[in-house]
Symmetry: C2
Amino acid sequence: MANAPASQVITLSHPLPLDSGQELAHVDIAYETYGALNADKSNAILICHALTGDQYVASTHPITGKPGWWERTVGPGKPIDTDQFHVICANVIGSCMGSTGPASKAEDGMPYAMRFPVITIRDMVRGLVGMLDALEIAQLHAVVGGSMGGMQALSLAANWPERAARVLVIASTARHSAQNIAFHEVGRQAIMADPNWREGNYYADDASPDNGLAVARMAAHITYLSEEGLTEKFGRRLQNRDTKSFGFDADFQVESYLRYQGSGFTQRFDANSYLYITRAMDYFDLAEEHGGRLGDAFKGTSARFCLVSFDSDWLYPTAESRHIVHALNAAGAPVSFVELSAPFGHDSFLLEVPALDRVIKGFLDG
Amino acid sequence: MANAPASQVITLSHPLPLDSGQELAHVDIAYETYGALNADKSNAILICHALTGDQYVASTHPITGKPGWWERTVGPGKPIDTDQFHVICANVIGSCMGSTGPASKAEDGMPYAMRFPVITIRDMVRGLVGMLDALEIAQLHAVVGGSMGGMQALSLAANWPERAARVLVIASTARHSAQNIAFHEVGRQAIMADPNWREGNYYADDASPDNGLAVARMAAHITYLSEEGLTEKFGRRLQNRDTKSFGFDADFQVESYLRYQGSGFTQRFDANSYLYITRAMDYFDLAEEHGGRLGDAFKGTSARFCLVSFDSDWLYPTAESRHIVHALNAAGAPVSFVELSAPFGHDSFLLEVPALDRVIKGFLDG
């Protein structure tokens, strides 16, 4: 953690009301910024992160030491150009990288654990809007997000329409499908089945529910990749051996890769945060929030929208983006939409897709 | 268990050689039969079951009390007509319904547990061929199987080509893909992460690794259904409530359904069997067994083949069946192939698909 300075933290001046009817008394929002804010504060871009993402969009992760999760997209001269824009990325509430979440201390000085209230995507965005208020940024040049970040961008556009002039939504959806919920439920059950979970009260223990969290991550990770991508990357190739072991070691490269993904994840993520954030995603249904018609969610908007999907994304397939585009059309909002061809499945938004770079740059500069 | 008589059991007269180079000293094969065997033993049909299936294809399951898993297909006047055919269905080795598996006693009188050798699909079929030898059935009228049952049918056709005149393969594949392996690995890791698994030595304990096995089943179950099917069946409908609970109960019907599938499964299935059978499926690569060319696997065949896939099956999609058909074409084998349209995903082979009934009946009668 030597090379990565701690994120800036804003403590909201007021309790945060939540969709559940509860409120969070003390809310910290940890964030990173890149590039200079101009004098009239008109060049700010808010990037919203995905389920297991964080504020380290273009700076070294303090735990893993790895580059930021979107360094290929955010930086000087990059598609989101920090020579031109002031980029802000904040850890969502419910997460575990400095913003208030289940691992944070409640008013009694003990970690919330499962006493943390169930939050929604809109609650996360309410926290981000509180941060923008504190930063005195009235309107963003753009809000940008992929996957769960796209849900936040949509929620901001729908509920705080004056706060962003441009809304860029990549590989996302306006509601979680039954299959999406099902995969998340498998992950939650894996965590809750781990005896180290102890109803969420493991923060003072020597052991965390790492095994359950790793299984949850493994199951989810498969949904982030395409069948074709997995075949191309791993096929049926064996891992460090010429013949099958006739045992239960990771014979196949894909097994070894998944185990690595699972165990690596547990070093940087809190199992309770995984429960809360997946729950928020499963609860997300932007139409339901607005009387059942998605078009009505965007009635008040004057923003410009750009939607991007990937042909190999089976988690949030193109039809989900098209559904949003139709709703924006119905609301009379200006929207461009492109389905990009990329072999990497849902994770394409994080990977080398030159056409995505061009779309992002074109939309933000336009 | 009152209404279900115990299956018939054949003990093979010889140790079973295995692909690993090991052998199983004592092999029981538990099986059920339906319909009369004719005098020249020419009307036998062997049905091979899927991963979590068993010999109770058309009779009440002794543990769950539920109807046989293919009662809609097998019986008097049904597509596999027991007025006409003698149907045999045997529990595969490695499983847990009476055939020798990890829960069976080894020579030292203790359960094999993880001392059970890792087996392959071909080993399962070797056991079934041993049963056919004992029953003195030289050639089957047909071998029939869906999913893993289809793998066994293909393996029988490739390795014992004289033993079946017809080979009907439904919703199956000639090799497990990286994605298939990945989902199985998640399930195995879930089981092995359960502290009650205890390296497989739980048979004398009060507790079994039910939590891990339930998570494995839940993850697998999602792959058996289509996204469309899940949406149609459950969508985002809530379970026994009008509003979200803002908690971690099963708010959504799909969560409740998955939990039910997971917990129900643990009552009838052994976790170690799940490890061994998924391993056998992951190892399955019929081309690899035959020098790398799938066509070569079928060089010796004089059987007729019928392949069926379902358009909504993303576990073993149509391309996998087509791959087999091309190999059979290359081998000069007579083959018919149909992709059926059905909304249920991989599980379509077990469900109400009238076109499947017609294909099965037409092929077996032809």
